[in-house]
């Protein structure tokens, strides 16, 4: 579609905010506490330098947005007693930022973002939300299409007061950032160890799933410490084995134990890049405001009601781009 992924002009922005944007497009979880959030704006395309903004109500906010038609609009993941000073912290959503252009394994090899890597971002989001639900038992999970990827925003009361360290641990869990330690002491006192794929639940199973994703999406150009070109070729040739869960066989083909260990450690490092970790651990982060325009790519930051059927190239395209077609 012509105009998608192209920068919006000031006229486009004006058109969007006056004709298309409506306050109702902001999700309820932000609307209901608009007065407790810090807002930030980028008016020039250089970054959100206009920060510490506070709006007493939706009316004032609407007026501001229509009048200024910013390049980008952001709101805090935190609620504050005094948002204009970023003081009196009350709580912060638990957030995961999956940016399509930063996915560590991109078979599309595009320079920026494309349909394929946006689809990949969607797959990653689906995996993370499944783990948040099935393992961590979280329910209030909201997904936002950010314009170049997705934000997962968790609002279960049990996570809102967690500190950075715990958030960082949740992040490592859901993306498979640690190689599982599955050693145990046998009855005779000797130490035994299991492979991640031998334990079919909990974190080992999450790690196995993420590893499967990474290995199946390797293009072969990725640098994994300790993995030679020859081993990488073997991995690419035999990776279909893990599609049908034949991990043991795959491990045997990759090489001796230590080579597989290196592969697994390398995969854990790649897993860590599936999500922008800084966003998750920062309690005072501002995130692109759902309903606002991502001017750099001319797409709408959109609340996703059904991930499976959501198509950013249809559901997040502003009218001014459609009119260009």
């Amino acid at each position: 579609m012509i105009g998608i992924f192209q920068e919006a002009t000031p006229e486009d922005r004006k058109k969007y905010y006056t004709r298309e944007w409506r306050i109702e497009k902001i999700p309820d979880f932000i609307r209901e506490n608009i007065h407790l959030r810090e807002f930030g704006f980028d008016h020039t395309g250089q970054g959100p330098s206009d920060r510490y903004r506070f709006f007493r109500d939706e009316k004032l906010f609407t007026k501001f947005l229509r009048y200024r038609a910013p390049y980008a609009a952001y709101s805090s993941v935190a609620l504050y007693d005094r948002p204009w000073k970023r003081e009196g912290w009350i709580s912060s959503e638990l957030v995961f930022d999956v940016d399509a252009k930063d996915i560590p394994v991109r078979p599309c090899k595009c320079d920026n973002i494309c349909e394929k890597c946006l689809d990949q971002a969607k797959e990653i989001v689906a995996m993370i939300t499944d783990t948040l639900r099935d393992d961590l038992g979280l329910q209030e999970i909201h997904i936002i299409y950010s314009g170049r990827g997705y934000h997962i925003r968790v609002l279960d009361p049990v996570v809102l007061k967690l500190d950075s360290e715990v958030r960082s641990q949740i992040l490592r869990y859901v993306i498979g950032g640690d190689v599982p330690d599955l050693s145990y002491t046998g009855l005779d006192g000797s130490i035994h160890g299991l492979d991640h794929f031998m334990v079919p639940l909990g974190y080992p199973s999450v790690f196995t799933e993420r590893s499967r994703y990474i290995i199946l999406h390797l293009s072969g150009d990725e640098k994994i410490e300790g993995i030679t070109r020859q081993t990488m070729n073997k991995i690419l040739e035999y990776r279909d084995l893990i599609k049908s869960d034949k991990w043991g066989e795959f491990k045997g083909i990759v090489g001796p134990e230590w080579v597989y260990d290196k592969l697994v450690r390398g995969v854990a490092k790649l897993n860590l890049q599936l999500v922008d970790a800084r966003v998750t651990v920062d309690l005072k982060r501002i995130l692109r405001l759902p309903s606002s325009l991502h001017s750099k790519v001319s797409m709408i930051c959109t609340y996703v009601r059904d991930l499976e059927s959501f198509d950013p190239l249809v559901d997040a395209v502003p009218d001014f781009v459609k009119e260009r077609v």
């Binding site: 715990v166 490592r172 869990y173 330690d181 599955l182 145990y184 639940l201 909990g202 800084r278």
Partner: protein, 429 residues
Amino acid sequence: MMFFINPFSQEAKELVRDSGDLDKIIEEDARLISIIEYTRGQRLDDDSRIPGSLWELSLKRIEWYLEKRGRRRYQPGYYRFLFNPEIAEFDVIAFHILAQAIGAKFNPNSRESRIFIELEAEIVKERLSRMENRERERVISGILGEMLDSETPHWTKLEKLLENKRIKLTELILKDGKVILDKSATGRTQQIVKSIRENIIPALIMQETQEYIYKIHEMAAKIEPHPILAELAEKIRERISREFFIPRKTSPGTLKASKLDFDAFPPCIKNTIKGVQAGNRNDAIVLLLTGFLSYARLYPAVFKERKPHKVSDFDPTLSITLNEILPIIYEAADNCRPPLFQDDPQEKLNITAKLGFGLHETPSLENEGETKWYTPMSCEKIKIHLPILCKPDSLCEKIQNPLTYYNKRRWQKRKEEGDRDIPRGNTRR
């Protein structure tokens, strides 16, 4: 006898409540001595090694941990009694006496408090490992029920343990928000769950001990502690200080050698000193640079020795800290864009806090111990929090912390320069 492992159990609380007068803790107790004498494997060749009273037993617990950590002179035969369940009644009272003395007299973040908390975890670990399998399982189930109300608690029940890095979330088996710690897992997973159960108990006791120390410390601010506890605290301080005493045999020449070597700094530190942009400034200066420079200058061997030293152990007058370390940190803060203290003046307090001197404008000896002396962020954390500063070179691939880089690079440099007096690894200078 759950309280042999868990000093916070109901039974333990009742025992402590009925234990009576604090003045009597210095009195010799024949029953205690007899239990020790009849402990299997206990060495009895030195009377001074055998505690005769609760006071002495309290100090022996500390001594055991310090000696065990010190390894070289550790003689387990002298401390067998600590693992004899018959001593449990005395031991639990000794634990609470120690906690009261330490909590009342030292800051909860002080070295003394941390050693006490670590000691408790270590003693629990060792006691559990010495138990017969079925008995261990029974005790663990009991403690989990007591401390977490369930053998399948919601993971948020372990929030404090995660926050304090006593356990990792990725070490647990979670399902529908519950941590699987019961026997419902089947096959090989059961072995893993068993191992998690054993690891979680010391972590829980550690956490509970830390919170207990906080409570006592708060109460001590309102009520004057018993003089005998103050006296015990002083003995503990002396004993621990002895462990960390650094002989002053370093000549001026060696001191000069330990001056900061800027050329040996890793790329992330060099980038930080040049100045960091808004968004990364606070973490770079406070969490990375402060720990790095202070340890590089004063205690580069921290990751090798892992002893909870204080800044004043190396810099008793704080002259190095105030005249060498802080000026570089402040200059780097000024190089930030915009300068860090211009819009975040409170970060000066955070820098002081990371050096172990609490939230104050500048470090001063009277505040030492209010906070912990933080080691610099690991490479793994830098990659997450400050990826913009992480521009790894070939040496970076082999290390996990910027401080290790510094030590290795310094060693390499001196080797290249043909220095015959090269320190072996991260030796303290």
